[in-house]
């Protein structure tokens, strides 16, 4: 069982480059289809880690492994371990629900529930049986997501009446309201315009102080703007299969300016479609 108590925030900031999630995927299957092979990397605490790579190389799949969202997919199977704070989250004794309460997720499409703005943010708090000061926590989460000023007068109205960018910030507020330690974001800006995208990027840079963020993005500039570390994945099409694998993982600056692998270089030059 994950029995992790949230450690004090002050302690965290003192520790540098501590491994929070240690991901060792040997093989990963959807039914008979091998989607991923050889993906070893460590997510460091308090940093923003970006995943880049061509479509279908398995970025979302790897991301969704980190909080066991893939358990919802029929036929999903993984060889390897993913350690979160030293505990293997795929160990049979681990409850995926507990994992997801520590590792939150924001999806590509904004997906607020068909309820009021307030209830959307309070949803996770209710799940965690938080009783005290729910309104305060909701306000705090909305403020940190940069949405409070826009919605403070209509907390009781439906979340579906918000614009796409507002909905996405609401989803971020909903995810951070329960204070997870890690925030997984799967192309969170792909449905947004440049201004909303910038806002969310600024937001991520602020949130970084309290959360570890892992983001999948197709926007290389975005990765360069916000990520501390970047992982490049590519898809191996030999043997008439399509298996994704990790090519290179390094500090963002280094990966973009001095890539060590030929694949990375070609991808950054735009030589792949």
């Amino acid at each position: 069982m994950l029995t992790l108590q949230k450690p004090h925030r002050h302690v965290e900031t003192v520790i540098h480059s501590e491994v929070l999630i240690d991901c060792r995927i040997e093989n990963l299957y959807y039914g008979d289809f091998r989607a991923i092979r050889d993906c070893d990397l460590s997510i460091e605490r308090g940093k923003i880690t970006a995943f880049i790579g061509p479509s279908g190389c398995g970025k979302s799949t790897v991301l969704r492994c980190m909080n066991r969202m893939n358990d919802l997919v029929q036929g999903f199977r993984i060889d390897g371990q993913i350690h979160f704070q030293g505990q293997d989250i795929y160990h049979p004794s681990v409850d995926p629900v507990a994992v997801r309460r520590h590792i939150g997720m924001v999806f590509q499409q904004p997906n607020p529930f068909a309820m009021s703005i307030y209830k959307n943010v309070a949803f996770g708090l209710k799940l965690n049986r938080v009783k005290d000061d729910i309104p305060g926590r909701v306000e705090d989460a909305l403020r940190r997501a940069g949405l409070w000023d826009e919605v403070k007068d209509k907390l009781k109205s439906s979340a579906l009446a918000l614009s796409g960018g507002q909905q996405q910030r609401l989803c971020i507020a909903r995810a951070i309201a329960t204070e997870p330690q890690v925030l997984l974001m799967d192309e969170p800006c792909s449905a947004l315009d440049p201004i909303a995208t910038r806002r969310i990027e600024e937001l991520m840079l602020q949130l970084k102080e309290r959360y570890t963020i892992v983001i999948v993005t197709h926007n290389l500039h975005q990765a360069q703007r916000i990520a501390d570390k970047t992982a490049f994945m590519y898809v191996d099409t030999s043997n008439s299969s399509r298996t994704g694998f990790l090519v290179e993982y390094a500090d963002t600056h280094r990966l973009f300016n001095h890539p060590q692998q030929e694949y990375t270089l070609q991808y950054l030059r735009g030589e792949f479609s």
Binding site: L72, Q74, G104, N111, L127, S157, A159, L160, A161
Partner: protein
């Protein structure tokens, strides 16, 4: 049939055509920068107009049909309406020899048997719908079960009636006897079950409407976007928090729709009820006492009715129609409200 709404469309398309034909290179109209748009051809216009006309005709035909039925039944019922008036729905005698007719017990029986059946069928129907959609079964088993449940809808109602008589009544009798003996002070159990009665009728009725409710709820539930379920699971919700908190909530207007359909069917069901309800004119709170419904009354008495009784039966039919329409309208309002509450008026 005159179709008033049609004329503006027609004139609009006419004006478009004329605009196109008058187009000259010298004129630069900001609204008609047309080089890629071609005016609708005469055939297009004719087909369009013909289809629209046909749609109007059929839409009106259904309304005319309902009005004709109402008019016919109303006409036949008119003498009875004059004769009995309001007392028809407040008293409980049905006596052809003395020409005394009233249907309070039938109204009571219709509503109580239908609502009871609706409650039971909704409970199980939604349960089945959840079971068939929320990854409890492998997709293949899901399909097999779905087909089996849909088969229930194909069984003729007289077969349900026989099944009720030979199986349901004997099965529930010991339970009913026990309840009556031990909890007889509760009004619902205040009479013994002698055979046909409200409870067996409602049970069979609930199984008859179960496929409708299960199938429509299943569609509503499987239409809930997977993204929403993932959002809830991603927040650390368990399956039993996701289902009521997100899935049922999002599907609620669809489930209400299923209930309205099921209730409509229950109110009008005749054969099985005529066989199982006991056809007794009394208003009783007891689940075990025999009762009657409007549809069963019509089916039982119509074949041998004299002229006066027939008029009274027509009055009863009119009341059944009114109840059904009323229920449907209330249902529609509830569905509308739910949809609006869920979407915040955006759709």
């Amino acid at each position: 049939m005159p179709t008033p709404a049609q004329s503006p469309h027609v004139s609009q398309s006419n004006s478009m055509v004329s605009n196109h034909s008058k187009r000259s290179p010298a004129r630069t109209s900001p609204t008609f920068e047309v080089s890629v748009v071609s005016p609708p051809s005469t055939t297009d216009v004719l087909v369009d107009r013909g289809f629209r006309g046909l749609a109007y005709v059929f839409a009106w035909l259904t309304i005319v049909l309902v009005c004709t039925i109402l008019y016919e039944i109303g006409g036949h019922a008119f003498p009875a309406i004059q004769e009995y008036g309001l007392s028809f729905v407040t008293q409980s005698t049905w006596d052809a020899n003395n020409a005394q007719f009233s249907v309070l017990p039938e109204i009571w029986g219709t509503l109580s048997s239908s609502l009871l059946a609706l409650a039971i069928a909704t409970f199980f129907g939604v349960f089945i719908a959840i079971f068939l959609t929320q990854d409890f079964l492998t997709p293949r088993v899901e399909r097999v079960f779905t087909t089996i449940f849909e088969l229930l809808a194909a069984i003729p109602s007289v077969v349900y009636g026989l099944w009720g008589i030979y199986i349901v009544i004997p099965t529930i009798r010991p339970i009913a006897t026990w309840l009556h003996e031990h909890l007889g002070t509760i009004p619902f159990f205040s009479t013994p079950l002698s055979g046909p009665g409200l409870l067996p009728a409602s049970l069979v009725l609930s199984i008859m409407i179960l496929p409708t409710i299960a199938a429509v709820s299943r569609d509503a539930i499987s239409a809930v976007p997977n993204q929403l379920r993932e959002a809830a699971y991603g927040l650390g919700a368990t399956r039993w928090q996701v289902i009521p908190g997100v899935v049922l909530r999002t599907a609620s207007s669809g489930i209400f729709g299923a209930m309205v359909l099921g209730l409509g069917r229950a109110l009008g069901e005749t054969m099985a009820l005529a066989m199982l309800i006991g056809n007794s004119n009394q208003v009783s709170l007891s689940l075990f006492s025999p009762a009657n419904t409007l549809a069963a009354l019509l089916a039982n008495n119509f074949p041998e009715a004299g002229k006066v009784e027939e008029q009274a039966l027509m009055f009863a039919a009119l009341i059944l129609l009114a109840i059904t329409l009323g229920v449907n309208m209330i249902g529609t309002v509830i569905i509308d409200r739910t949809t609006r509450r869920l979407t915040g008026g955006t759709s």
